[in-house]
């Protein structure tokens, strides 16, 4: 156990204690105890073997130098998409209802309640420290406008420790579309520890798309836990372009029959960016479906980790579960650690998994060049074609275009 990080976390908590509501204090304290007991994961923890958060934070982040000021010169509305929808603002991890545009009376700010469990240390850390919680609850048969969630981080005054906390409930026959984006200013390190819980009830549909294009002093752990009831659909799209540390934990529990889950991801990283996607799908009932496709392009000293778990429980007969992780490594010093993991207890299922790590296809490159296309343009053509498959499930056309532009900018320059 590392005394210093844990100690400074404890100190931070004590400093903030007075600001927490009495009602939540006991729950927060038990969460803190959980953190102190387990410590932040390091290399010896299997799940964090290639992403030793403890070590990375120790090197780059100082819990003692956190500033808590919530003033900023950022003009939130300048960053809003010019579209009809709910525009929700977080600043340094705190939800700001007054700055948000809420069309539907379905978003509210709450205290973290004792129903919020914590399965791992980051969940617990979030519960202990989050300033408030955003609750989105959509009632039956209602199709609200999309939700654009903007996470602003201002680290001009000092280091920022942000703990956004969101609970989403989609009641039966609803459809929720969410787009998450992060905007930052300042150069001091930022540690984001995000916790999002989603409950997709029967026949409901939730789609979450995230764009992660962070500066190199931003370190993020994102726990997204999804529970799906019968006949529900959940789509996750995650596009990572840069960041000091990006760790995405996506955990899906299919609790009813005929559930459908789609997970698409792309990481297109260079420099010293580090992107780690850990996903887990738990099939517990018959006749369900999950499909996962993550693609990666790595250059320079970038590092990527992929771990995809699929569990097919004994009752989950007739499950169809597919998983694929494909990587192109463009540099000798970039690295990718990929691990598909299937555990199947049922005997009548269709499952597949596979991962590939390869280099640029030289034959294809020569073919394009032999037709007069310049080397860089030819490379870009091949890589754009490779990455575009991951854009299929984005529900917003303008987001597809935005991501497409980011890809082209990165690859063509």
């Amino acid at each position: 156990m590392d005394i210093s990080v844990i100690n400074s976390i404890q100190e931070q908590f004590n400093k903030n204690e007075a600001t927490y509501l009495a009602a939540s204090l006991t729950h927060r304290k038990s969460a803190l105890d959980f953190v102190l007991l387990h410590d932040l994961p390091d290399r010896k923890d299997e799940e964090y073997k290639y992403t030793p958060v403890n070590r990375i934070l120790k090197k780059n982040f100082d819990f003692e130098k956190i500033v808590t000021s919530n003033s900023t010169h950022l003009n939130f509305k300048d960053h809003f998409y010019k579209l009809k929808g709910n525009h929700l603002v977080f600043l340094n991890g705190t939800y700001l209802p007054a700055q948000s545009i809420i069309l539907n009376d379905i978003c509210c700010q709450t205290e973290v309640d004792s129903k919020q469990t914590f399965k791992d240390v980051f969940d617990a850390l979030n519960v202990a420290f989050c300033k408030n919680s955003l609750k989105i609850e959509v009632n039956e048969h209602y199709r609200p406008q999309p939700f654009f969630i903007y996470y602003f981080y201002d680290s001009e005054q000092g280091q920022v420790f942000g703990n956004p906390n969101i609970q989403i409930t989609a009641h039966s026959n609803t459809r929720i579309q969410i787009l998450e984006k992060t905007i930052s200013t300042g150069t001091h390190p930022v540690f984001i520890n995000k916790k999002v819980g989603v409950h997709v009830k029967a026949n409901a549909q939730v789609n979450i798309t995230k764009i992660q294009n962070y500066k190199k002093h931003i370190f993020q752990v994102y726990n997204l836990e999804v529970n799906q009831d019968a006949q529900s659909t959940f789509n996750s799209n995650v596009y990572s372009f840069a960041g000091g540390l990006i760790r995405n934990n996506l955990s899906i529990n299919q609790l009813g029959e005929h559930c459908e889950s789609h997970m698409h991801g792309l990481y297109l990283i260079t420099g010293h960016s580090h992107v780690d996607n850990h996903t887990s799908v738990n099939h517990t009932q018959p006749n369900s479906y999950s499909n996962e496709l993550y693609k990666g392009i790595l250059d320079e000293n970038a590092r990527a980790v992929f771990n995809g778990k699929i569990f097919v429980r004994p009752e989950a007969q007739k499950t169809n579960a597919f998983q694929s992780n494909q990587n192109i490594n463009l540099s000798d010093s970039a690295s990718i650690h990929t691990k598909p993991q299937l555990e199947i207890w049922a005997d009548d299922v269709k499952c597949s998994h596979g991962c590939t790590v390869g280099q640029m296809d030289e034959e294809a490159l020569f073919y394009l060049r032999a037709r007069g296309i310049g080397k860089n343009q030819a490379k870009a053509l091949i890589l754009i074609a490779f990455s575009e498959q991951s854009l299929e499930y984005i529900p917003f056309e303008f987001v597809k275009e935005e991501i497409d532009t980011l890809i082209r900018k990165r690859l063509i320059g």
């Binding site: 296809d361 030289e362 034959e363 294809a364 020569f366 073919y367 394009l368 060049r369 032999a370 037709r371 007069g372 296309i373 310049g374 080397k375 343009q377 030819a378 053509l381 091949i382 754009i384 074609a385 490779f386 575009e388 498959q389």
Partner: protein, 254 residues
């Protein structure tokens, strides 16, 4: 148009081309024949600028330019076209999109304006007829899932679009049925003019029934050992390559 002098090339330290001399003038069609492993495809690759070959001796001058100094894409922009023996499948890139990019990069290199979408489509329609290729095929991923014949027709289609000065057809006839062969040959013949030239690399005389060459060269053990006209191809078809091998004795049996 192109003048190859005493060209020697190695791959992974092994000498494949051992002194090629070849002169091709505008308006000419040259056929290069020869047994397997004689260096035919290597010659095509070296001319097109594929990586991995080491030129140890000799020179190639194309339209007053030292070809060996140019990158593969620059050679293409100067007017060299290689029809691949095995066209590469590139998932996610459509033929249309790819050709538009290629054409505009070539035009840019030559200081010409890019083609607008309408002009490009019009040109495409005209050239599609020539090789009887379907629009649907061109909007699919480049060569992905194409039959052997479709791939080769696509090569000739690209050639028709790019209008090269020198076309090198590397065993374009291999893997083609008779109908496809006729279509491909028709395409090549229609594109022939007094200002361009082609080098056909082939195993068989069959293609030469459709595309009549001005010269036939026999490549053997990295050298051109015999040059003649169309009748040389007929003779090879009848007698095989053994007599050539005997004349130019090699220790290797092929």
């Amino acid at each position: 148009m192109i003048s190859i002098k005493n060209l020697h090339a190695n791959i992974e330290g092994k000498e494949i081309l051992k002194g090629i001399n070849l002169e091709v003038k505008s308006g000419e069609v040259h056929a290069i024949m020869g047994p397997n492993g004689s260096g035919k495809s290597t010659l095509a690759s070296v001319l097109a600028g594929r990586d991995g070959y080491e030129i140890t001796e000799g020179s190639v001058v194309f339209e007053d330019k030292n070809l060996l100094d140019l990158e593969a894409e620059e050679r293409a922009r100067e007017g060299i076209f290689l029809a691949f023996q095995y066209p590469v499948e590139i998932p996610g890139v459509s033929t249309t999109n790819f050709l538009k990019t290629a054409m505009n990069q070539i035009r840019q290199y030559r200081g010409e304006k890019s083609l607008d979408a309408v002009a490009f489509l019009k040109l495409m329609k005209a050239k599609m007829k020539l090789v009887e290729i379907d629009q649907a095929l061109l909007s699919r991923s480049l060569n992905e899932g194409f039959s052997g014949g479709e791939k080769k027709r696509n090569e000739i289609f690209q050639m028709a679009m790019l209008e090269p000065k020198l076309a090198i057809l590397d065993e374009t006839d291999s893997g083609l049925d008779i109908d496809a062969l006729r279509i491909v040959a028709h395409g090549v013949n229609s594109l022939k003019s007094k200002d361009n030239a082609s080098i056909l690399i082939t195993h068989y005389q069959r293609l030469l029934d459709y595309i009549v060459p001005d010269f036939v060269h026999v490549l053997f053990d990295g050298k051109i050992v015999k040059t003649g006209d169309k009748s040389l191809a007929m003779e090879l078809e009848k007698k095989g390559y053994d007599w050539i091998k005997a004349e130019h004795g090699s220790l290797e049996t092929i």
